[in-house]
Symmetry: C2
Subunit: 275 residues, 2 copies
């Protein structure tokens, strides 16, 4: 189902302004959420992140309308996911942000995605550009990730791992990166060019209760090769262990703390949605 102009629609064809800067310049944001039992998991965290990201782009954000879109789409799908897209709206020519632009919000619900496989990942020569604020936002420009993923799939891999321009690990194509180094759970700093993922935040917040020491810090290539386990997190698929990185086998799924993290996440979903 699709949501636009304040209502649900069966069709994805909508009247769109061809001067919309989301369509012409990638000037906008999106957000993806998990839906269980007709409820959006981490609903408020997603709305808060969208609001903060819109502020970074100096875009007005109608939180009430976004919440209405989320709730309406969640009810329509029951179990699955939602993608909201928020563009700058129509505007004149050029890059300067038009003062009169009125943001365009639309959304789509979809069935549960296939279960995340154990990931076979390759690194890419395309770097995540941590010098840009865009690298820390779920902003529309995903062409780097599209090209890098295409290259990875041509090599038989499932996903791609980006390093940033300083040679530090950043993230997967659409997921945050975590690694275990002995008993330390490490994820890159946001400043490394990383989205403030909601599952990332949940793991950082709950790590201590699982007896884990979690650290946000940079990880370089040499250190990456010494990781005991690696996994990816995102809103839709929660946690996926990595079983191969650049041809090196990794027993991530067997790491003693992976199952505890997966149980914690599934319990969080159930607690928030299945009540």
């Amino acid at each position: 189902m699709f949501w636009f102009d304040g209502a649900l629609h069966e069709t994805s064809i909508a009247p769109v302004d061809l001067t919309d800067r989301g369509l012409t310049l990638g000037d906008g944001l999106f957000d993806t959420t998990l839906v269980r039992s007709g409820r959006v998991f981490q609903r408020q965290a997603h709305l808060d992140r969208l609001a903060a990201s819109a502020a970074t782009l100096a875009m007005p954000f109608d939180a009430k309308m976004a919440a209405q879109a989320l709730d309406t789409l969640a009810e329509s799908i029951g179990n699955g996911g939602i993608r909201l897209t928020l563009t700058r709206g129509g505007g004149g020519r050029g890059l300067a942000i038009p003062e009169t632009a009125k943001p365009f919000l639309f959304g789509a619900s979809f069935p549960p995605p296939p279960v995340f496989p154990r990931l076979n990942v390759v690194t890419t020569t395309i770097r995540r550009n941590e010098t840009s604020p865009v690298a820390r936002l779920k902003a529309l420009p995903y062409l780097d990730a599209i090209l890098a993923l295409r290259e990875a799939k041509a090599q038989g891999a499932d996903d791609v791992l980006f390093e940033n321009t300083s040679g530090h690990v950043a993230c997967f194509s659409v997921a945050n990166f975590f690694a275990f180094f002995s008993d330390r759970l490490v994820t890159p700093r946001l400043e490394d060019g990383v989205l403030a993922g909601t599952i990332r935040a949940l793991i950082l917040a709950r790590a201590k209760s699982l007896g884990l020491v979690a650290e946000e810090r940079s990880v370089n290539r040499a250190e990456l090769s010494r990781a005991d386990a690696i996994f990816a997190t995102n809103s839709l698929r929660l946690l996926a262990p990595c079983q191969m990185l650049d041809g090196r086998s990794l027993d991530s799924a067997q790491h003693k703390s992976i199952e505890a993290l997966q149980v914690m996440l599934e319990t969080a979903v159930a607690d928030e949605c299945d009540t």
Copy 2:
């Protein structure tokens, strides 16, 4: 005027697939051309670049349809400019390129842009990411340039100059970079993260006939501060001298070869269009 579905329209509101990857992921290209006397300047060069860029993105490209859009819009405006946008088209979820995607082509014509001022330019901390093929394409993702330009305008500047992640000069927000070092005319290599601008190519091709030695090579920050003159080129505005860079005055407009280059460009437009 707007062009979509094979015909001219007065309205910019068109039926668009909300799953169009140009709208949802910045997965597409655009192109901007100058129109004089109802004709598109460097028409074939622009069509060729679009075709080559589409090939880089593994997108089908209908050159005949693009030519028809260009010619129809050129006739509609007489004097001014055209922007064509080519997106991947609608597709399912995820970043993987859908095999069935059918590209969406649309265009707009517009009156002549205001005369390029003598530019007051500042550099930005956002780097041009030359590790990505996207940096060499007129691809939809322009959010880095939007944010950098916004920052520059807040400082009272007209435009922004990007360095790449290696510390070499790349380009302005929507224009190629040229500098004179004594009698040498230098522009960055495409590998520095630079669009293959059609005016850039024309200047490189004609330099010798104007008695200039032109070089494509990297320029670092230290060298930038020793430039005798700096100018910007793009399809719509041809050549604009830079009169200030990071607060340093530059007499670029007075450089002995700038006027010769401007005359060459204006003559090329007249020769191609006003016949």
